[in-house]
Amino acid sequence: MNIEIIHIVYLIASVTFILGLKMLSNPKTARRGNLIAAGGMIAAIVGTILLREEPVSPIIYSLIFGAIILGTIIGWLTAKKVQMTKMPELVSLFNGMGGACAALIGLIEFPNIAAHFPGKLGVVLAGMLIGSVSFSGSMIAWAKLNGTLKNAIRLPKYNILNTVILVGLVGYAVYIVFAQDYSLTHLYLLFTLSLVYGVLFVLPIGGADMPVVISLLNSFTGLAAAFGGFLYDNQVMLTGGILVGSAGTLLTLVMCKAMNRPLYSVVFGAFGEAASSSTSNGPQGNVTEISASDLAVQMNYSSKVLIVPGYGLAVAQAQHVVKELETLLEERGVEVAYAIHPVAGRMPGHMNVLLAESNVDYDKLKEMEDVNPEFAQTDVVLVVGANDVVNPAAKTDPNSPIFGMPILEVENAKSIVVNKRSMNAGYAGIQNELFFKDKTNMLFGDAKKVLSELVNELKNLD
């Protein structure tokens, strides 16, 4: 009887996973979706333990509960305490835990299965192998994001090496299954090899590509869980694992696409070559990019947005789309205004001419002196094709050709997004340290094109 009810529980849990993922792909429902999936997970775990028909020794029960309670406390605290910026590495860490769990299951079950159900041996090994790779790979990814491991370490000809190891790994596992040679030595050797492969797989990859790698390892772990489900004929593990495996793979592809990097370069470790291209001749370090869709969400959930137009707005003839952006944001209850620098553009009043053409209300145009104190209360400043007029060098660098010119003090805003086509300089021909600030994100591309995308993403948000 219990054993039958557990199937219903599993079914429900599987459905919550599907719904959860679905809701997670929409900003409006994402949070609820996560909770729903979590609810399903709790039901599945509790059901597995409680709906057991055979008697179980109390020692085992207490061990299980002990492990769960301990895990819950540690997991909860770590997750709650971590800083916002450290979250990706935490995800990698947790992913590694899942992989390790799968690997351990394989290690434990191997002798058992070898003895009783040799037909499922392949399944056990596959789960263990993938789990181990995912574990060790995630650990390396974590260490990289963490800063413990700083550089991409590349053995000579690492591409060939990795492929050889992978082929060997799979061949070895197939050999074990078909040769029916169930010695534990083989098992441990395979385990070790898998761990090594995981390490070698991630080591050569640059830090900027870690999110893609984590997503890939994530879908590996899903696959490992699915093998577990196959092993125990357990539907919730099977469906949960496959779901993550397929969704994770798609997500990896989507992320690759967003980064303009084909998947094969991910799989074959040809990572990181282009990773440092975002810095230009300017010496000041790295810039962070933001995508139009991320910016759309950020703006949608802001209370106050200031737009700083510059000469690039004129070059791109983006005045109409900037007006559309304003209208959309205002419809969503966001306060929008324009901060006009007196010398923005190439003629006095250049911005006025443009914005009047697209019927921007005169009241929305703020003069520099009036708007400077407002930046501190601004959630997002969107700099559209302006450069010199927001260059802090005007205040800080006496050798700069623009030294002494008053500027728009956008750095005081909570977040700054700069749209321009490249890292090229503006009229004064100097680099702008604003672009390299932590709070600043770059939105590269022609203003008209990129703002149209932004407008579209905003429209898609509801």
């Binding site: 007196p342 010398v343 006095p348 009043g349 009047a356 019927n359 005169y362 145009l365 003069e367």
Partner: protein, 366 residues
């Protein structure tokens, strides 16, 4: 059938009733065109252009009239011109017949038949022959240019290193053809524009050009012809209250209000002018019909307590090329209505013919 185009004789007039382009169009309906020498000169149409287009020249107006079956002009005939006219001839020009009894009597006496272009009924079909419409439109544009030229300020807002120039505030009285074009032009140049009119439908029309409408709490009604009727004293009082604030802030005021067959209404009194800012400008487009302000004088710039009141009675004459082109098109379309294959073809039941034919001494075919 011959048609003569006379040279305008009024002072300040620069337009010509027909431009070379219309000549070939008229040829098609059997009309040959004779041009009084130099008629198009001020509008940048040379005598050679007319000849090249297939016209003939006449050395004087009497020569031109003598040789013609139809005589066209923009302004009413002078008494010398009237003396050359006679039966069998057809006269076409603006006549303003309701305000000009003596002229009509003199014309009638010659036995001529006369059409008045300004009497064109305001029906859809006649829109392409309506000279008031085509000229008002240009006047609306020109009034703004002229206002901008007279104003000590610029129109657009400019935020510059030397400080911010605030946009000019423009207030427009009367949202007819001229008023609408004035709104559009002032908006284009970057001014903040407000407008007011007695006809309530003007609100939507004003807003359709991106300007603000000042509604007067009262119901102004329009006559069938699309013209406004005279409004009550009470209405004028309410209008004053509604606009005074805008008036005090305005840099440029353009008045276009006309009432059919009556003197233009006085919309801005001397006291109201005194409310206005030092340096502000009023362009009165109704000055030829008495003016919309208490102080305007035709073709003069009156300065009262720092406010310039510019009265221009003939704006189209300041853009003679375009104005003549449109007029010419109006007139040739009108002629196509009256003439088929070189002979008259008047339908007295027809609203257009009926409405414009002020003096009829003509038999039905020439």
């Amino acid at each position: 059938m011959k048609l003569s185009v006379l040279k305008e004789s009024e002072t300040g007039e620069t337009r010509v009733a027909l431009v070379p382009k219309s000549i070939s169009k008229l040829k098609k309906i059997g009309i040959d065109v004779i041009i009084e020498k130099g008629a198009g000169e001020k509008a940048a149409f040379k005598d050679e252009d007319y000849i090249a287009a297939g016209g003939e020249l006449a050395n004087s107006f009497s020569d031109a009239i003598k040789r013609a079956d139809i005589v066209v002009k923009i302004n009413p005939p002078t008494s010398e011109q009237i003396s050359e006219l006679g039966p069998e001839k057809v006269w076409i020009s603006q006549l303003f017949h309701r305000l000009n009894d003596s002229l009509i009597d003199a014309l009638s006496a010659t036995g001529v038949s006369a059409f008045s272009l300004d009497a064109m009924p305001r029906i859809s079909r006649a829109q392409s022959m309506d000279v008031l419409s085509s000229q008002s439109n240009l006047s609306g544009y020109k009034a703004v240019i002229s206002g901008a030229d007279n104003l000590g300020k610029i129109f657009p807002m400019l935020m510059t290193a030397a400080g911010t120039v605030t946009p000019a505030k423009v207030l427009i009285f009367g949202v007819g053809v001229a008023g609408l074009q004035a709104i559009a032009t002032a908006k284009r140049l970057g001014a903040v524009v407000e407008a007011t009119d007695v006809r309530p439908e003007c609100k939507e029309q004003t807003e359709s050009l991106g300007a603000k409408f000042i509604s007067v709490e009262d119901d102004g009604v329009k006559t069938e012809g699309g013209y406004a009727k005279e409004v009550t004293e009470d209405y004028l009082q309410k209008q004053k209250e509604a606009v005074n604030k805008s008036l005090a802030n305005a840099d440029l005021v353009i008045t276009t209000a006309l009432v059919q067959g009556a003197k233009a209404p006085i919309l801005i009194s001397r006291e109201q002018i005194e409310l206005m800012k030092n340096g502000s400008v009023i362009v009165d487009m109704a000055v030829a019909k008495g003016g919309n302000t208490a102080l305007s004088k035709p073709d003069e710039i009156v300065v009262h307590k720092g406010v310039k009141i510019v009265g221009v009675s003939n704006f189209p004459a300041q853009i003679p090329t375009n104005a003549s082109e449109l007029l010419s098109r109006n007139i040739d379309t009108f002629l196509s209505h009256l003439v088929t294959d070189g002979s008259f073809n008047w339908d007295f039941e027809d609203e257009i013919t009926k409405g414009t034919l002020i003096i009829n001494n003509q038999k039905l075919s020439s």
